[in-house]
Every structure is written in structure tokens, then in C-alpha cells.
């Protein structure tokens, strides 16, 4: 992957700041505990949490790339897939069958969304499509909970949630987070392979590049959209499994979409690597700020810090770190 020089410098500078600011805060303030192993523990925890954000942001990127739709419903899709999976499991299905059935349901959902929402709204302004996906969000939130109930459910897929000690017992890392990061990595690599080496992947890239040109060489747009929403549904299911087994399957899962948005604008709407790098920066930055800066200004900053961080990056790169350069003509 080719990285532009300013992006490289911005990332280097942000890494330096991420180390320097906590260190300075630890030196200057009595309230802040700073020690190198502790710093790395926090940073690694943050990076791993960031991977979980990336998982959600990835779904946004896929759909935005292929259809230019800012799909606000990604969070609702995460919740819906997790609810469906748990609901099917409670009905007595073995886990692998439940996952397959959920995948089928997500594909059906993708088809219905394309047929009933996107196709009638084709060629409308972006903001209209954005509002329509908010409508889908409302619908899915209500539908999932009507179908499966709204109490907190436990999703157990057999991963240990034990903290383990690494690097000579100095740094504490949650095993679950490591597994999540691994799964996210596998997902990204397989998506990259899918996009690079399959016929459908090539069509998807063509559509992402220029959908009119793609249409004119005979790529059926509506099929592509169904496929892309299905892939986003698969990503949502993976995110739903990971987040659901971490936090329990409940309504608040839908709100992680709000966590993924800063990741999205930081990395760039159109870039898969952007979603990953953005997730890592946001995750680490957020955790570090929470531990080393928040005590100084009253705490509870996780609601907005990620947004401010992304905003700071955007001032330097308005299209996000890896987004396509915005070229405007009169």
C-alpha cells in the first residue's frame, strides 16, 4: 500500500504526541500515575479496543465505497444480527447453524433494503439516502426487539474472558481482546483477498471507482448493491458476535455506531485500511486520554474525545487520513 508522505508524518506526529502528552501529564501532575509498563498496558488495551471499533467502521466503509450511501444503520445491523443469533441459539440451534441462519437472514435483509429502500431512491441526494438509512435504523431497532425481546442476553461462543500477563508479567492484557483483534485481522485479510482476486470483488471495485462507467461495461449495479449490503451484514455479524460476547447483547450495541463514526472520518470514508488505522489511533488515543488526561478535567470524556481527536486530524486532512483526495471543479 502506498502511503502519502504527509499522512506518514501525521501518523508519526500523533504517535509522538500519544507518548509525550501522557508522559508530560505524569511528570507535571501529582494525580496522574505514570509508569512505562502501565503506559504500554493502557496503549495496548486501547489499540485492541480500537480494533473493535474498526470492525464496525468497516461496514460503513464497504457500503459508502460501493454506493456512496452513508449507512447510519450499520450499528442497528450489528444489534439486529447479534439479537438474531442469540435468539436462534435460544431456540435450540447449534452455534454453527445459528450463524449460518443469521447470515442467510442478513442476506435477505440486504436484498429487501436494496429492493424497497435504495432502488426507489436511486439518484437522490446523499442526505436523503442518509435519512433513509436512519429510517432503517429505527425499523431494525424496533423489529429486532419486537422479535427477540429487549432484555440483556448473554452470547457465549466459548472465548475466555480472562486477563493474561504478557512480557514477563508486567503487562496485563485481556485474552478476549487479543482474539477479537485476531478475528478482525482475519476478516480484513479475507475481505482484501475477496476484493482483489474474485470476479465479484473486481466488479465491486469497479463500482466503487465509478458506478456509471461500471454500469456501461455491463456490471449489474443492483446485484452489486445487494452483495455489498450482504458483505456489510456479514461484517456486522462478526462485530455483533464480538461486541455481544463482550458487553452482552442489548440495545446499547446499536450505539456503538456512534463510536465508529469518528474512526470513519479519521480514516476516510472510502478506505478499508483507513478504517483499521483510524480505529487503532482512536482506540489508543481514547484510552490514553481517559487514563492520563481525563482526571485533570473531570473525567467521563469518552463520549466526545474520539470526535475531537478526529476533528483535529480532519483540520490537517479534510478527507481523512486515507480518503480519496477531494478534487473540486467549477
Amino acid at each position: 500500500m502506498h502511503i502519502e508522505r504527509d499522512v506518514f508524518y501525521i501518523i508519526l506526529a500523533s504517535l509522538a504526541l500519544m507518548v509525550a502528552i501522557p508522559w508530560a501529564a505524569g511528570m507535571l501532575s501529582e494525580d496522574i500515575f505514570f509508569e512505562w509498563p502501565f503506559f504500554f498496558e493502557v496503549a495496548i488495551g486501547g489499540l485492541l479496543a480500537g480494533v473493535m471499533y474498526s470492525l464496525v467502521a468497516l461496514g460503513f466503509v464497504l457500503i459508502f465505497k460501493a454506493s456512496g450511501v452513508f449507512n447510519f444503520a450499520q450499528g442497528a445491523m450489528v444489534l439486529f444480527s447479534a439479537l438474531t443469533l442469540v435468539g436462534l441459539q435460544e431456540k435450540g440451534l447449534p452455534i454453527w447453524l445459528a450463524i449460518l441462519a443469521t447470515l442467510a437472514i442478513m442476506a435477505l435483509l440486504a436484498y429487501l433494503i436494496e429492493r424497497l429502500v435504495l432502488r426507489p431512491l436511486v439518484n437522490q441526494e446523499h442526505i436523503i439516502l442518509f435519512m433513509a438509512t436512519i429510517g432503517i435504523t429505527y425499523f431494525l431497532d424496533g423489529f429486532g426487539q419486537t422479535l427477540w425481546g429487549s432484555e440483556v442476553k448473554i452470547l457465549d461462543i466459548g472465548f475466555s474472558n480472562q486477563p493474561g500477563f504478557y512480557f514477563g508479567g508486567k503487562i496485563l492484557i485481556n485474552d478476549f481482546d487479543l482474539i477479537a483483534a485476531l478475528i478482525a485481522g482475519v476478516l480484513v485479510v479475507s475481505l482484501a483477498l475477496f476484493f482483489q482476486y474474485t470476479r465479484i470483488g473486481r466488479a465491486l471495485r469497479a463500482v466503487a471507482d465509478d458506478n456509471q462507467a461500471a454500469l456501461s461495461v455491463g456490471i449489474p449495479l443492483k446485484h452489486i448493491w445487494v452483495i455489498v449490503w450482504t458483505v456489510a451484514g456479514v461484517v456486522a455479524l462478526v462485530a455483533g458476535i464480538m461486541w455481544g460476547s463482550k458487553l452482552g447483547v442489548q440495545f446499547s450495541l446499536a450505539l456503538i455506531a456512534l463510536k465508529a463514526l469518528p474512526v470513519l472520518i479519521l480514516g476516510g470514508f472510502t478506505s478499508v485500511p483507513g478504517a483499521i488505522v483510524g480505529g487503532l489511533i482512536i482506540g489508543a488515543g481514547e484510552k490514553l486520554a481517559e487514563v492520563f488526561i481525563a482526571p485533570l478535567i473531570g473525567g467521563g470524556i469518552e463520549d466526545w474525545f474520539a470526535y475531537m481527536l478526529a476533528l483535529a486530524f480532519l483540520v490537517f486532512r479534510p478527507q481523512g487520513l486515507f480518503g480519496e483526495k477531494i478534487i473540486e471543479r467549477v
Binding site: 431512491l121 442518509f130 435519512m131 423489529f143 483540520v315 479534510p318
Partner: protein, 359 residues
């Protein structure tokens, strides 16, 4: 034939520049005003005034503010809730710090304070555009709510973080806030303010400033090339828009709910107001109010509908089904008329103009 401009001759510049140039429109608006000021207070129950008319007017004002920013100036914003909260808390601080101030001054001043905050958060719009800006405005939303929650100074160190409006009156004796104010007084006060501010907005958007906003919305680079200053135009839009949102927030806290916590202005409020703007029609003053009426009435309808059919459904199921129906209706409306209710209104007028001929 029913609605037409034929036979109406304008013989002065003043008549030519009137807001409503067609006679029927003028009758309609005066009739509407008379209805709103005289008939509604006389016939509606307390329930109607407090749960429907007040939220409708106040959220309509907020939608008007957002419509100026998004519909006229083309800057998509999801920070409306945060700006409303700013207005509410500014009004509270002003009203408690200077108890002798008139409520009108308190509310307008809190609008001005919100304007300042809006300008501050509008600065990134010079670099960031489109959905990037929309997500970036969420920063203001979350930051402002966090700030009001976190620092006791804003709530005068109340333990619960809830602010309550002190009783205040207009014309020295008529109470409009506090527990003893009558719904009719509140309603008339809000209505007067909303009508006046709407008039101001209408004149703003058809003036020089409004034309600059629309040029920036349609293509900002072209606008800049023909000499429209980007910095001041965008910031003006943010300032005016946040002024309206701030006033709406102050009215919401002081006249509608009476006491309010920051959570009343969370991100869902921003989405609600954005829905009003989109459903009502982007870039239309009237659309803001049509959309507000729709979004305020719809949930009430949905909540009550099962009772009318004699159905008994568990409360949480109802709220989930409400969500579903709300989502479906939003999508349905967008598909049927992406340009909103204001466009439907225009089409109706056009039909009336030609009636009974097809064209």
C-alpha cells in the same frame, strides 16, 4: 382558477417586494394567524396546548434554525441538540444571575450566546465538508452535553444536574414560566416569539445574506470565485442557525418542560430536528413547521392508535412497534416526496392555480 395572480397589479416597489404577493396567500396567512392567536387558545384543552402546540412551535423554531444551516447554506449539522442545550443553560444562568432581567431579553441573550458557541464550532466547516462535517458536528453535540453535565457551575451546583426555570413574567404581571403560569399565557408568548423570529428568518433568506447562503450551498467554489466571502458567509449561517436553536432550547427548558436536564438535548434530539427539516423540505421556512408538526404528532398518534382499535399490547412492545412504524413512515415519505411536505404544498398550489384545466 381558484388561486391565481392574474389581475393583481403592483404599482409600487413596496408591493413588488412584499413577502406574499398573491392576495389569497395574504388572506390565508392572516386567517392562520387569527386562528393561531384567537381560536386555538379559546378552544384547546390544556393537554393540547402543553403536549402538542408548545413542542410543535418550539421544535419548529429549532427546525427553522437547522434549515437555515442545512437547507439554505448547505452545511449538514448533527449538533442541534447541543446548541439547544447551550441556549437552555445560558438562559438559566442569565435568569438566575440577573433575576430582574425581562424574560424576552434573557431568551434573546441566550440565543446570542449560543450564536457565539455556534460560530466556534462552525470554524471547522471551512475545511471540512459534507458527511465529514456532519460527523464533526457530532463533536459539538457530545462535548456540550458533557460540559453541562460535568461542571456544576452551569446548574448552579444542583445535585441532580437538573435546572428549573424561575417564575418570570411579561408586562409585569403575566407569568409565563414557572409552575403557576397558565398554558394559554405560555402558548401565546411562544407563538408571538416564533412568529416574529420566523418573519426575521423569512426576510433574511430572501435578502443578500440568504442569496449568499444559497450560492454556497449550490457550489461553494463557484460562489467563492464570484466573490462571496466563504469565511463570513458560512460563519453567519452557523451564527444565525445557532441563534434560533438556542432560543428554541431556552423556550423548551423555560416554557415547555419547566425543568430540564442535559440529556433532554442528546443526539436523538438532533436527529429528531433533522428529520423535521428533511420531512418538511430542505430550504423552506414553511417546511420546517410542516415537518415539526408531522414529527411531533406522529408519535402521539402511534402511541394512541392501538387504543382506538381496542387492542391491548404490552407497553414495551408498543414502543418497539412505534419505532418500526416510524422508520417505515420516514422511508415511505422520502420515497414518495424526497423534497418534503413543502414541495407537496407547492404542487397543490400549482394544481389549484390551473384548476379546472389540466395545464
Amino acid at each position: 382558477m381558484i388561486y391565481r395572480e392574474a389581475g393583481e397589479f403592483k404599482s409600487s416597489y413596496q408591493a413588488d417586494q412584499a413577502i406574499l404577493t398573491i392576495r389569497q396567500d395574504r388572506w390565508f396567512i392572516w386567517g392562520l394567524m387569527a386562528f393561531a392567536f384567537l381560536v386555538i387558545p379559546a378552544i384547546s384543552s390544556e393537554y393540547w396546548l402543553t403536549t402538542i402546540m408548545l413542542p410543535f412551535l418550539i421544535l419548529g423554531l429549532a427546525a427553522l434554525g437547522l434549515n437555515i444551516l442545512t437547507g439554505y447554506a448547505g452545511q449538514l449539522s448533527l449538533g442541534t441538540g447541543g446548541f439547544m442545550a447551550t441556549g437552555a443553560f445560558a438562559a438559566y444562568k442569565l435568569a438566575t444571575a440577573f433575576p430582574e432581567l425581562n424574560i424576552v431579553i434573557v431568551i434573546l441573550a441566550s440565543g446570542l450566546i449560543t450564536s457565539g458557541v455556534g460560530i466556534l464550532f462552525g470554524v471547522p466547516s471551512l475545511r471540512i465538508k459534507g458527511f465529514y462535517l456532519a460527523v464533526a458536528t457530532l463533536a459539538s453535540q457530545f462535548f456540550l452535553i458533557w460540559m453541562f453535565n460535568k461542571f456544576g457551575w452551569f446548574t448552579n451546583y444542583s445535585a441532580s444536574g437538573v435546572i428549573s426555570a424561575p417564575p418570570m413574567s411579561v408586562f409585569n404581571e403575566i407569568l409565563v414560566t414557572g409552575p403557576h403560569a397558565t398554558p394559554v399565557a405560555k402558548y401565546l408568548f411562544v407563538l408571538t416569539l416564533v412568529v416574529l423570529l420566523t418573519l426575521v428568518a423569512k426576510n433574511l433568506v430572501r435578502s443578500n445574506i440568504g442569496r449568499e447562503w444559497m450560492a454556497v450551498r449550490d457550489m461553494d467554489i463557484a460562489a467563492e470565485i464570484i466573490g462571496i466571502p466563504m469565511l463570513s458567509t458560512k460563519l453567519k449561517a452557523f451564527a444565525v442557525s445557532s441563534f434560533y436553536c438556542g432560543v428554541a432550547g431556552a423556550l423548551w427548558a423555560f416554557l415547555h418542560t419547566g425543568s430540564v436536564e442535559p440529556l433532554a438535548f442528546d443526539v436523538n434530539r438532533s436527529f429528531q430536528v433533522l428529520f423535521m427539516v428533511i420531512i418538511g423540505g430542505l430550504g423552506s421556512i414553511m417546511g420546517a413547521f410542516l415537518g415539526a408538526g408531522f414529527i411531533v404528532l406522529l408519535p402521539i398518534l402511534l402511541t394512541n392508535a392501538p387504543h382506538w382499535f381496542g387492542l391491548n399490547i404490552a407497553v414495551d412492545t408498543i414502543s418497539h412497534i412505534e419505532f418500526m412504524v416510524f422508520g417505515i413512515l420516514i422511508i415511505f415519505f422520502l420515497i414518495v416526496e424526497p423534497h418534503g411536505l413543502a414541495r407537496l404544498w407547492q404542487i397543490t398550489k400549482e394544481k389549484l392555480r390551473l384548476w379546472p384545466f389540466p395545464y
